[in-house]
C-alpha cells in the first residue's frame, strides 16, 4: 500500500475511532434507557417503563421547569451583555482599563467553577446581610449563569463583529444615519445569526451547569442538573438514562436544524461579504 493510501486510511481510522469515543457514552445512555432492570448496566429486556415513570417524577419535572426558566433568562441576558462587550472590544480601541476588561470578559471561560461559585456566593451573602436582598434562589443562580454565559456570548459575537467591514457603518453615517440607526438598520441585521448562536449556546451552558447552581441555589431552587447529580452520586439510576435520552434527542434535532440553516446562511453570507467588500 503506498503512502497516500496509508495516510488516508490512517486519517479515516483516527477520525472514526475518535467519533466512536465521543459517541460511545451517548449510545450507552440511550440503549440502557430501554433496559428492563434497576441496574442500567446489564441488559435484561426492552421496556418503556422508565419513560412512563417520568411524568410522575415531581422532583425531576420541577428541576426541569426551573432550569428552563433560568436558561431562558440567562440566554437573553448573556446576548445583551455579550453584544455590548463584543462591541466594546471591537470598536473601541483605546479606553482606560481595556486590558483589564478584556481579561475579565474571557476569564469565566476557563476559571474553575468552584472558585467563581464560591466567590460570587460570598459576595451575594455579604450584600444580603447588609440590605436583606437577594435571597439565594433563582435570581442568584441566574447571576452566576449570566457571568459564564456572557463570556461565551462575547466570543461568538466578537468573531462575527470583527469580520464586518467598518466602512459599512461609515457609509450609513455618511448617508445620514445617526449612530443608533446605524446599529439597528445595518449592524444588527448583519450579526443576527451570531446573536442566535450565542443565545442557543448560553442556553445550553446554563441548562447544563452543576457547580455554580450548587453554590448559588437556595431552598426550593433545585435545578435539573442538581437533581441528576445527586442521583448520579448515589449510583446508577435508570430514570437518569430516560431523561438523558430525551435531552439528547432534543439537542440532536436542534443541532441538526441549526447546522442546516447555518450552512445555508454561510454560503449566502460568504457571497455577501465578498460583495460588500472585505476591508
Amino acid at each position: 500500500m503506498n503512502t497516500a493510501a496509508f495516510n488516508r486510511l490512517f486519517a479515516r481510522g483516527w477520525l472514526s475511532l475518535g467519533y466512536a469515543f465521543l459517541y460511545l457514552p451517548i449510545v450507552a445512555l440511550i440503549v440502557f434507557s430501554f433496559n428492563d432492570s434497576p441496574l442500567p448496566n446489564v441488559w435484561r429486556g426492552f421496556t418503556l417503563k422508565w419513560y412512563a415513570a417520568l411524568p410522575d417524577d415531581r422532583e425531576m419535572l420541577a428541576g426541569l421547569w426551573l432550569s428552563l426558566r433560568i436558561a431562558f433568562f440567562t440566554a437573553c441576558g448573556s446576548v445583551v451583555l455579550g453584544m455590548l462587550a463584543a462591541f466594546t472590544l471591537v470598536r473601541y480601541r483605546r479606553f482606560t482599563g481595556r486590558t483589564a476588561f478584556s481579561g475579565m470578559v474571557s476569564a469565566p471561560l476557563v476559571m474553575p467553577e468552584v472558585v467563581v461559585g464560591l466567590s460570587l456566593l460570598l459576595m451575594l451573602v455579604s450584600i444580603q446581610r447588609a440590605v436583606g436582598f437577594p435571597e439565594r434562589g433563582m435570581l442568584t443562580i441566574w447571576i452566576g449563569h449570566l457571568l459564564l454565559g456572557m463570556a461565551y456570548a462575547t466570543v461568538v459575537i466578537q468573531a462575527r463583529l470583527q469580520d464586518l467591514n467598518p466602512q459599512l457603518s461609515e457609509a450609513a453615517m455618511d448617508l445620514g444615519a445617526r449612530p443608533w440607526q446605524v446599529f439597528t438598520l445595518i449592524t444588527l441585521p448583519m450579526i443576527a445569526q451570531s446573536l442566535a448562536s450565542a443565545w442557543l449556546l448560553t442556553f445550553t451552558v446554563s441548562l447544563d451547569d452543576v457547580v455554580l447552581s450548587a453554590f448559588l441555589s437556595g431552598p426550593g431552587a433545585t435545578t435539573m442538573p442538581l437533581v441528576i447529580f445527586s442521583r448520579a452520586r448515589l449510583g446508577l439510576n435508570p430514570s437518569v438514562n430516560a431523561v438523558a435520552t430525551l435531552i439528547v434527542l432534543v439537542v440532536a434535532i436542534g443541532v441538526l436544524v441549526a447546522s442546516y440553516m447555518i450552512a445555508r446562511n454561510e454560503r449566502r453570507r460568504a457571497q455577501e461579504l465578498a460583495a460588500a467588500g472585505h476591508a
Partner: protein, 368 residues
C-alpha cells in the same frame, strides 16, 4: 502651498490651513485649497501621504486638529458625517449586503424622512442615471464589480449632495473596465453637475478624470494645477519624477539671457528657448520627458540639445518603444518613440550607436 480655482470663481469649498495631528505625527500639515463649484478635483499621492485623511476630514469621519473647512459658506466644524451635505463613494463600495439595490439607494433618502413617493421617484431617477433599472431588486452579491460601483455611485448621488467624495474610485476594477468606467463616471458627475473631490494613487485616473490635481506628499501639497500644467510644467524634481517618466540632467547655467539660456550638462549643452529666473553659474536640473526626445542613427543639425550614446535596453510596448540610451558620462536617457510604421528597414536594436536630440522648447528647467 495654496491653490486657487481657475477662472477666479468664489471658492465653493474652502480648506483653510487644516492640520491633522495624530499624537505628534502630522498626517495633514497646513493644507489650504479652494475648489470651485462643479470642479472635479483630484488628490494624488502615494500611500501614507495624507490624502485619505484629508478626504475623511471632508466627510466628517475625522476632525481637523486645527484649521477650517467651509462648504458653500457653511463651516463644517463639529458637524458629524450624518449632518453634512456631503456624500462619499467608498473604495470597497460598502453596499449594504442585506438590502436590495433599490433599498441601498433609498437608504439616505429615507433617513431624511422624505415621503414615500418622493423617495421612489428619486431612486428611479438614479437607477435611470446609472442604467441599472433592471437590477433594482437584486442584492449586491448578485451584481458584477462594475454594476456594484454604479450602485455605489447612485447611492452617493441620491441625496443631491453639495459635494461628492470619491475614494480610489477605480481601484477595484481591472484595466479594461477601468478605461470605460473612467469616462462613464466623469460623464455622470458632469451631468449631475456636482462638485467632486477624489483621492487616488493612480496618475492616469487623476489626469483623465480631474480638471485640477493636487500632488500630495507627507501631508502637504507639492503642486496644484491642471493636469497638463503639472505634467509639462512641474515645479520641483519630485513632482517631475512623480508624474509620468522623466529624465533629469543636472547642469550649470552658462549663458543667461532674457530670451534664452544655455545650460551645460555632462553629456551635452541645452539651448533653452526661454528665459529663466536664475543667475549665471547657478546649478539647475533640466527635466526632459521621454516622448519629447527623438532617437536616430544620424547626427542632428543642431549642436545643442543633442547627445550621443548606445542603446542598452529597449522595451517594446506595441504602440511605442522605450529606449534606454547610455551616455558617455554613464547617465541613461529614457526615450519613448511611437511606432508609426509597421516595419522599418533599419530597426534600432541593442548596442546601436545613436543620437538623441530634442527641440529648444522641450526643456523644463528646475531649481528645486
Amino acid at each position: 502651498m495654496a491653490g486657487g480655482p481657475a477662472g477666479g470663481d468664489a471658492a465653493y469649498l474652502s480648506i483653510q490651513d487644516v492640520v491633522k495631528d495624530f499624537s505628534g505625527y502630522k498626517a495633514v500639515d497646513h493644507v489650504s485649497l479652494d475648489i470651485a463649484k462643479g470642479e472635479i478635483f483630484a488628490l494624488l499621492g502615494s500611500s501614507g501621504c495624507g490624502k485619505t485623511t484629508l478626504l475623511r476630514m471632508l466627510a466628517g469621519f475625522e476632525m481637523p486638529t486645527s484649521g477650517r473647512i467651509v462648504l458653500n459658506g457653511q463651516d463644517m466644524a463639529g458637524l458629524p458625517p450624518y449632518e453634512r451635505p456631503i456624500n462619499m463613494m467608498f473604495q470597497s463600495y460598502a453596499l449594504f449586503p442585506h438590502l436590495t439595490v433599490w433599498q441601498n439607494i433609498a437608504f439616505g433618502l429615507q433617513r431624511e424622512g422624505l415621503p414615500k413617493d418622493q423617495v421612489a421617484a428619486r431612486v428611479d431617477a438614479m437607477l435611470k442615471l446609472v442604467q441599472l433599472g433592471k437590477f433594482a431588486q437584486r442584492k449586491p452579491h448578485q451584481l458584477s464589480g462594475g454594476q456594484q460601483q454604479r450602485v455605489a455611485l447612485a447611492r452617493s448621488l441620491a441625496k443631491q449632495p453639495q459635494m461628492l467624495l470619491l475614494d480610489e474610485p477605480l481601484g477595484a476594477l481591472d484595466k479594461k473596465l477601468r478605461e470605460e468606467t473612467q469616462i462613464e463616471l466623469v460623464n455622470i458627475i458632469e451631468q449631475v453637475g456636482v462638485t467632486c473631490v477624489m483621492v487616488t494613487h493612480d496618475q492616469e485616473e487623476a489626469m483623465t478624470m480631474a480638471s485640477r490635481i493636487a500632488i500630495m506628499s507627507e501631508g502637504s501639497f507639492l503642486q496644484v494645477g491642471a493636469p497638463a500644467d503639472i505634467y509639462e510644467t512641474p515645479a520641483t524634481k519630485f513632482v517631475a519624477d512623480f508624474i509620468g517618466n522623466v529624465n533629469l540632467m543636472p547642469g550649470t547655467v552658462e549663458v543667461d539671457e532674457v530670451d534664452h539660456v544655455v545650460i551645460g550638462s555632462a553629456d551635452c549643452k541645452h539651448y533653452v528657448g526661454h528665459g529663466i529666473t536664475g543667475t549665471h553659474g547657478m546649478a539647475v536640473t533640466v527635466a526632459l520627458r521621454p516622448e519629447k526626445i527623438h532617437v536616430s542613427r544620424h547626427k542632428p543639425a543642431d549642436d545643442y540639445n543633442a547627445a550621443h550614446g548606445t542603446i542598452k535596453e529597449l522595451s517594446y510596448f506595441g504602440s511605442f518603444t522605450v529606449y534606454h540610451v547610455e551616455l558617455p558620462s554613464g547617465a541613461r536617457l529614457k526615450i519613448s518613440q511611437a511606432n508609426t510604421a509597421r516595419h522599418k528597414d533599419d530597426e534600432l536594436t541593442w548596442g546601436d550607436a545613436v543620437w538623441a536630440h530634442w527641440s529648444r522648447s522641450a526643456h523644463v528647467v528646475l531649481t528645486q
